[in-house]
């Protein structure tokens, strides 16, 4: 039973179709990867699922059609996301970043806070930080953290909202191989703990190792789907990544750096 699915999802920017008639399914407790060269429409897909760009088609979450929900309503329903560039609240400490995601506001609580702010129970958020090895960073401002740590705080903040499904937009971008492998293990253990994840990443080694199922997009079009083993063998995927269309669109073809292409082949070993 899919906890998150899209039916005929489409996003158009002017005349350009960034995502075209894309249907995907993320099963409960499943780690689903979404890959494709630069400009393939991966981030746009996540934006559409989480309500940050207007889209056609339908998004079903936990048995409900959430197509008409605002991004806030989707987040509150349990559909979390992380951002490519972390997008942390730079004026708040790491712990406060997590608190924002975990807390809801009601009228009673608001009035009480004006008189006497409640000291929240932070143990759950401390546990999240511990699990991502961010223990010492709780009182630090995000701007004082390294790039890799900022990305982890982004993940921690998303987890603090206790999501059912988490859409992760390139959580490993900018991390070195070792860090990205460690992150992969953590994501896998979250999924093994019951979370469902839709993961975008450029690191083919990472994606092919940890995902249960993969969708491959190119120019907003689904070109392949299947298990990592099936994807590795797929001709169209290899063509899309090696890009035998240099003359056609240099920028697109250059989108996939050499390293990632070799990663794709490495994964077979």
């Amino acid at each position: 039973m899919a906890v998150l699915s899209t039916q005929g999802l489409g996003v158009a920017f002017g005349a350009k179709k960034a995502v075209n008639d894309f249907s995907l399914e993320v099963g409960e407790g499943q780690l689903v990867g979404l890959i494709g060269p630069n400009g393939a429409g991966k981030t746009t897909t996540i934006d559409a699922i989480t309500g940050f760009v207007p889209a056609t088609g339908a998004v079903t979450f936990d048995g409900t059609d959430i197509s008409s929900f605002s991004s806030t309503q989707r987040a509150r329903a349990g559909l979390g996301r992380t951002w490519q560039s972390s997008e942390l609240f730079d004026d708040l400490t790491v712990m406060e970043n997590l608190q924002v995601a975990a807390e809801r506001i009601d009228v009673k609580g608001f009035l009480r806070d004006l008189v006497r702010p409640r000291n929240d129970d932070l143990s759950e958020m401390e546990a999240i930080l511990d699990s991502l090895e961010l223990t010492g960073a709780a009182g630090v401002l995000p701007t004082d953290l390294s790039h890799g740590q900022r990305k982890l705080v982004g993940v921690a903040r998303a987890l603090a909202a206790r999501p059912k499904v988490l859409c992760m937009d390139e959580p490993a971008a900018g991390l070195d191989t070792e860090e990205s492998q460690a992150l992969g293990r953590r994501i896998r253990s979250l999924v093994d703990g019951g979370l469902s994840v839709l993961l975008i990443d450029h690191d083919m080694g990472l994606v092919l190792t940890i995902c249960d199922y993969l969708y491959v997009l190119d120019f907003g079009q689904l070109i392949a789907e299947g298990t990592p083993a099936q994807i590795r063998a797929d001709k169209r995927v290899i063509t899309a990544y090696l890009g035998d269309r240099h003359g056609e669109s240099e920028a697109e073809a250059n989108g996939m750096p050499e390293a990632s292409t070799s990663n794709l082949q490495e994964g077979e070993g």
């Binding site: 509150r76 506001i105 806070d113 960073a137 909202a161």
Partner: protein, 758 residues
């Protein structure tokens, strides 16, 4: 409504609005000729509105700034020309004179006759001649020919444009929208203050520039020639700008830069150069029309043209800050509609107040246009693709808030009984000012939304208090609370359409709302009387503590001088409660949500924060606080007048709050300290002998300086100073653990890095 929304796509709005205007105008013209006449007489005003709106659009295209000072630039241009033409003098803005400080100190020491040279105020270029008119009266001849005065004025305006670019807006090019708006508000205050200093605030009569013999149209309608010429000139300018932006590389590059600055670089233009050229063009344009249009009303004053910024913003907003043609068409339409409303206000069926036509409806029209555009369009200005590297000021959590508040509050209360009446009054003024600044800390400091109507909301608080206490005899503690609630209602009515969207919209809407409230309510003789709405002094259980209630000295007996210090004690108590409320707000969940919204709206939404809800809540809280402040202010003055509670006072209070430090409670304290009539003004006038005329000028300059240099304000600078001293003294700041982000030692951070790397 959903049908309307789906059919009325954003692109259709200008066309639809223009169509409605067109139909109305047509019907009226067919109906009768006196209305046609009225509409025709609005052409000149419309041309000026259009020119100011074009200037705003040019600025926005060139540098992403919504310039609230565009009307002030037009007014300034009018005065430069006036000074040259009539007196042959080019006035200089006040330049700080270090010698004045020496003078002040000597005066303080007792030698009042001591005088040092001053920097000149005017440069005299020509001398006015005298001539003898009919009946033998001697009249003054203009000192300078029209063309010469015009030429010099335009050169001065071009230089001003360059100065604005290089001194103010270029340093702000990577700053958030908030800082840019604040700087343009500062510019507004400075230009107005300079003109009042040099020419006083009373109107000066100006002679015509363009020929003004009437042109005769069919059906007996006459249009003055000067107005027709103005319209023709503004249409020509619009056509020129349209062609320039459409066909030239320069225009293309500017349009590219307004969407993405890299686009301009690709075309071989530096975005910086484009911004500078557009600043010069927009300043000259607004000033030129200010000069030409001033004679239509036969006089020039510092307010009238300046406030045309409101209809001009409405026109620019309707045209999405991009289409010159729509901008000009809307500007002309608004001018004509204003003139038409003035005519029909003489009709018997027009809403009346005390037998006079209801005032302020001409101001309500652009406000309505703005509200409708925002409500229907539902999306903000096109965002500009530039990198913001300058951040909003940090919002610290207050430490040891309760003891500090108690100590300062009690000190102020005690002081009230021992100082002379002048100082007592200045303490009261500062306390009331702190309340308004606190309301801006919540809205602008915590959530990053700019309101230019806080003093108007304060006025609503005071006005409601006046009504419920006078007419309905509602006793003391409930009157001010009802006033605050009324401020919330009015505030939400005006602000909600803007709060749904991002960007500078709230600043635009609230400024228009402030002008409307000021003229519709506070200046309305039926509601506010001729001297403003009177406010009855407060009393509780028979204890009268209004500022003018007699009081006996606590220990020595005897009657004390007014104002009554118990009123000051009451103000101090209110400030203490509100300070703790705002401190708690920052420490609580809602405060975190507010700062999250300020930092990153997308990420806040993804974290489940209701962005619109948080903004609306902040606006409500801020309106409530401002309303309370207005009620206290009403008690303090005994009345509510448009003089203290309007659009321009709202701008000035933003300046005080920003100067003090917009993002912290201590900043609001400093802000209250420096308000006009507050403690710092009293120090300046009583000890340093600096005229209080300079308070505004200093506030405006300080505002611009703060926007560029140090957005943390005076309070932030003091905080940093204390930290520095502590560090120098080798004393570690007492442990605040996780709760004090600005005090974190690098220790745990490095260990975290090490772990993550492992």
């Amino acid at each position: 409504m959903t049908f309307v929304r789906s059919w009325l796509t954003p692109k259709k709005i200008p066309a639809v609005v223009a169509g409605i205007f067109g139909v109305v105008v047509l019907v009226v013209i067919l109906a009768n000729s006196d209305q046609t006449q009225a509409i025709a007489l609005g052409l000149g005003g419309g041309a000026l509105i259009a020119a100011i709106a074009l200037s705003i659009t040019l600025n926005y295209q060139g540098s992403g700034v919504v310039n609230f000072a565009a009307g002030a630039v037009a007014m300034y241009g009018g005065y430069v020309y006036y000074g040259l033409r009539v007196n042959g003098q080019l006035f200089l803005p006040p330049i700080p004179n270090p010698l004045a400080l020496v003078e002040g100190v000597v005066h303080l020491a007792g030698d009042k006759a001591f005088s040092l040279p001053h920097i000149p105020v005017f440069i005299t270029l020509a001398h006015p001649g005298t001539g003898t008119a009919a009946y033998g009266t001697v009249i003054q001849q203009p000192a300078m020919a029209v063309w010469a005065a015009m030429l010099i004025s335009l050169v001065v305006l071009a230089l001003l444009g360059l100065a604005f670019h290089f001194l103010i807006f270029r340093p702000l090019r990577r700053a958030p929208v908030l800082a840019k708006v604040v700087a343009s508000v500062g510019l507004f205050i400075v230009m107005q203050a300079v003109i009042v200093l040099r020419f006083t605030s009373s109107a000066k009569s100006v002679s015509p520039i363009l020929p003004s013999s009437p042109l005769h149209l069919p059906r007996g309608v006459r249009v003055p020639e000067d107005q027709t010429l103005l319209v023709l000139i503004v249409i020509a300018v619009t056509a020129g700008l349209w062609a320039l932006f459409r066909f030239s590389r320069f225009g293309l590059a500017t349009r590219a830069a307004s969407e993405n600055e890299k686009g301009a670089l690709v075309l071989g233009y530096s975005p910086d150069m484009l911004a500078g050229v557009n600043w010069v063009a927009s300043t000259v344009l607004a000033g030129f029309f200010g000069i030409l249009a001033a004679p239509i009303n036969q006089s020039i004053d510092p307010i009238t043209i300046t406030l045309l910024i409101v209809p001009a913003l409405a026109a620019a907003l309707l045209a999405r800050f991009s289409s010159f043609v729509v901008t000009t068409a809307t500007g002309l339409a608004l001018g004509m509609a204003t003139s038409w409303i003035q005519l029909i206000s003489n009709k018997s069926w027009f809403p009346k107040a005390s037998g006079q036509a209801l005032p302020g409806l001409t101001d309500a029209l652009p406000f309505l246009v703005i509200i409708i555009v925002l409500a229907v369009r539902g999306k903000s200005l096109p965002t500009r693709g530039s990198i913001e590297t300058v951040k909003l000021p940090f919002a610290p959590r207050a430490r040891a808030a309760v003891p500090t508040t108690l100590a300062l509050g009690i000190a102020a209360m005690v002081l009230l009984f021992f100082v002379t009446p002048v100082w007592r009054l200045s303490i009261v003024n500062s306390l009331v000012g702190m309340i308004i600044c606190l309301s801006l800390v919540v809205l602008t400091g915590y959530v990053g939304q700019i309101s230019l109507m806080q003093m108007a909301l304060a006025g609503i608080g005071g006005f409601t208090l006046s009504k419920v206490a006078d007419a309905h005899h509602i006793p003391f503690p409930f009157g001010p609370l009802l006033g605050a609630l009324a401020a919330v209602v009015i505030g939400l009515l005006a602000g909600v359409p803007a709060l749904r969207v991002r960007g500078v919209n709230l600043a635009v809407v609230t400024f228009a709302a402030a002008v409307t409230i000021q003229n519709l309510i506070f200046a309305n003789p039926a509601w506010s009387g001729l001297k403003g709405a009177s406010v009855k002094a407060p009393s509780l259980f028979g204890f009268h503590f209004g500022p003018n209630d007699p009081w006996t000295k606590p220990f020595s007996g005897g009657r004390g001088l007014l104002p009554n210090p118990w009123f000051g004690v009451f103000c101090a108590l209110v400030v203490m409660v509100l300070v703790l409320v705002v401190v708690n707000l920052r420490r609580s969940r809602i405060g975190r949500h507010m700062l999250a919204v300020r930092a990153n709206e997308r990420a806040a939404a993804a974290a489940g924060v209701s962005v619109a809800g948080t903004k609306i809540l902040a606006f409500g809280v801020a309106a409530f606080i401002a309303g309370l402040g207005g009620a206290l202010s009403g008690y303090r003055f005994g009345s509510v007048t448009s003089l203290y509670f309007g659009a321009i006072p709202s701008m000035i209070f933003l300046a005080y709050a920003y100067l003090g430090g917009i993002s912290s409670v201590s900043g609001a304290m400093v802000g209250g300290f420096i308000v006009a009539g507050g403690i710092s003004t009293t120090i300046m006038t009583n000890w340093l002998h600096i005229s209080d005329q300079y308070t505004l000028l200093l506030a405006g300059i300080g505002l611009i300086f703060m926007a560029i240099q140090n957005p943390k304000g005076v309070a932030g600078a003091l905080r940093d100073g204390v930290h520095l001293v502590r560090r120098r003294m080798g004393r570690a700041t007492p442990g605040h653990g996780l709760s004090s982000p600005d005090d974190v030692s690098p220790g745990p951070l490095q260990s975290a890095t090490a772990e993550a790397g492992a």
